[in-house]
Symmetry: C2
Subunit: 341 residues, 2 copies
DNA sequence: CCCCCTATTGTTAACGTGTGCATTCCTGTG
DNA sequence: CACAGGAATGCACACGTTAACAATAGGGGG
């Protein structure tokens, strides 16, 4: 069928070994011979059979990029930025294999032979089994986006607690006191951290958040919509709502409009993530930027470093979030701030 | 290192040939022997070495999913839906390898050995060379999202001309006569079709679109914003603007707000694509839904059909778009419609 | 002039799997 | 009883590549 090193060898009048060495630029081969063989290979449009290479070299040239789920709960922007980031790093050396963890019925097929390394973009504690499986098989691994304690794995993520803390502080600085929270999807670690950061900000400023000022959310538009409706039905609604992601913030704003209110004049809304469209909704959303693309770049680079130098670096890297101030938060005058009790 | 069929053979007291046949459920092997070997394989946690299989069977178990670009111009939602659609079809049989076509410096490495089949999600005429390369190598291929005339390739896409035609008709039905167009990114075939459909609608209803009612666009928010600003600066601005995608429509609405206008009361805006957030902006965007996920599902299924039955089906499949009526288009009373000249 | 060392190339086996062809054993039939 | 034929299994090789080891030639030093 296709051209092999043996074909080249025959034409060059050398052994296939010599061809192999020449094409791999081995110092054993005379420069002149190399040139001749390279020219011949070029001319015959030779492409190495990577399956054969893989078999003998025990490398797959595959990099796995695993998401918690492809079918639900992952936002499109998040997904896109993660792939972009990784892709920008791997050059031609690896193939990028994208998978949803929830598509696996068994991890049996995940072996050292089939993946040179794996990047898990984790959004849920439920990813723990696969992480341990991969680590257990000794496959180089980096977990992005979620802190993980398994030993021997690289871990790159943003400091979301800090990000949510800054968001909370910002709302307080703007004069808000009646501040409500729409929580993230249960089971997603990010939900915990964002909530914790928010609470720390409240606590440090002596602000009490009543139970009625908290609503669960699913990270989607509908749940943000619903939560906001509940807040607005309260006898004393909040003046500001911190949403654990942008999509819920959009849903929340929508609910405010539905109730005849205007954002931010009547109620302030803040999101988290700085999704691509956050700057273009009306009003433009004030939010917190998680550097997903940077995280995935950083993670991919460190993973490649481990693979190629056969290291087992195992550090945790925290990247900074950034407060993005736009238009959806109103500065309140002191007398309007309505401190409760 | 890891368990091979030879290890199993030794333990079972048979030859590795028998093990191979047993695990592949060959009718040559006694049922009893098969059972014994399967049990042993299970117990030893045997995983076949796919590199070795690939080498001898001449199959890679890889499916390529190629996008025109990963780094620019592809919308996140589009990207996400395409991967989701394909992923939902391929089950466990194939690995999905995601690539940006513009990352390739040479197509040399794209061979029949490394991909059992390839799905090209094409957004530009510039993809033609890679499509011809793939087809030329005899690799099973399906091109999604863009019509392609190369012989011997499957082609699945939405009828965008028709979609834009319906959009244009809808605006006219709502009483609009001064209708402007923000065009798609130059070089993207979709831009041509959407524009053509729009023009057909105008022509069939005898409506003339002056040159000032057309602005180029790049499929991004900024260009939509800019284009709308130009329309609004005209002595007689349009009453409705058809944008060749949703992102530009968002930008356009933003520009309208910036000029102190309200959508749809003062000006109507229509998009194309029905991006995930289209329903949640304010006002919710009236648009045309391209069934991307369905396209990619359909394409993947047909590709797999070709691969597994060794066929070379080569049809073009057009899937219907759907008009999604929301809130961003105002119905005009006859006397307001301001027919020109 | 011989031997050793080095530079260059070839021989052969190995990676793990699948398959054409032999081999063995058994059963039925003439 | 011999023999055909089928069922079950093994042998040996192939896939395309790399690498340990062998082989050859040439050059320099004694």
């Amino acid at each position: 069928m296709s051209v092999t090193i043996k074909d080249i060898a025959k034409l060059a009048g050398v052994s296939h070994t010599t061809v192999s060495r020449a094409l791999n630029n081995s110092p054993l081969i005379q420069e002149e011979t190399k040139e001749r063989i390279r020219a011949l290979a070029e001319q015959l449009d030779y492409t190495p059979n990577y399956n054969a290479k893989s078999l003998v070299l025990d490398r797959s040239y595959n990099l796995g990029l695993f998401f918690t789920t492809l079918s639900q709960g992952t936002s499109a922007g998040f997904f896109y930025e993660a792939i972009r980031g990784v892709n920008s790093v791997i050059q031609d050396r690896y193939q990028l294999i994208v998978k949803g963890i929830d598509d696996y019925t068994s991890f049996h097929s995940i072996t050292k032979k089939s993946f040179d390394g794996i990047i898990v973009v984790s959004q849920s504690d439920n990813d723990q089994p696969i992480i341990e499986h991969i680590a257990g098989k000794g496959i180089p691994l980096v977990v992005l986006n979620r802190p993980v304690d398994t030993s021997g794995v690289l871990n790159v993520l943003s400091d979301e607690e800090q990000g949510a803390y800054h968001a909370g502080c910002y709302l307080i600085e703007q004069g808000h006191r009646r501040i409500a929270l729409i929580e993230g999807r249960k089971g997603f670690r990010s939900a915990k951290h964002r909530q914790a950061g928010f609470e720390r900000a409240m606590a440090e400023h002596g602000i009490v958040t009543p139970a009625t000022y908290r609503q669960p959310g699913l990270y989607d538009l509908e749940s943000g919509h619903l939560a906001m409706q509940k807040f607005l039905a309260l006898p004393e609604p909040p003046t500001a709502v911190f949403c654990c992601n942008d999509e819920m913030a959009l849903g929340a704003m929508k609910a405010a409009y539905g109730a005849g209110l205007r954002v931010p004049r009547d109620i302030s809304v803040m999101g988290f993530d700085d999704t691509v469209f956050a700057g273009y909704v009306t009003p433009a959303l004030t939010t917190v930027r998680r550097p997903i693309e940077q995280i995935s770049k950083e993670g991919a680079m460190r993973l490649l470093g481990n693979i190629e130098n056969k290291l087992h670096t195992t550090e945790r890297v925290l990247l900074h979030t950034e407060l993005i101030v736009r238009e959806s938060v109103q500065a309140l005058k002191a007398e309007e701030s309505g401190r409760d009790a």
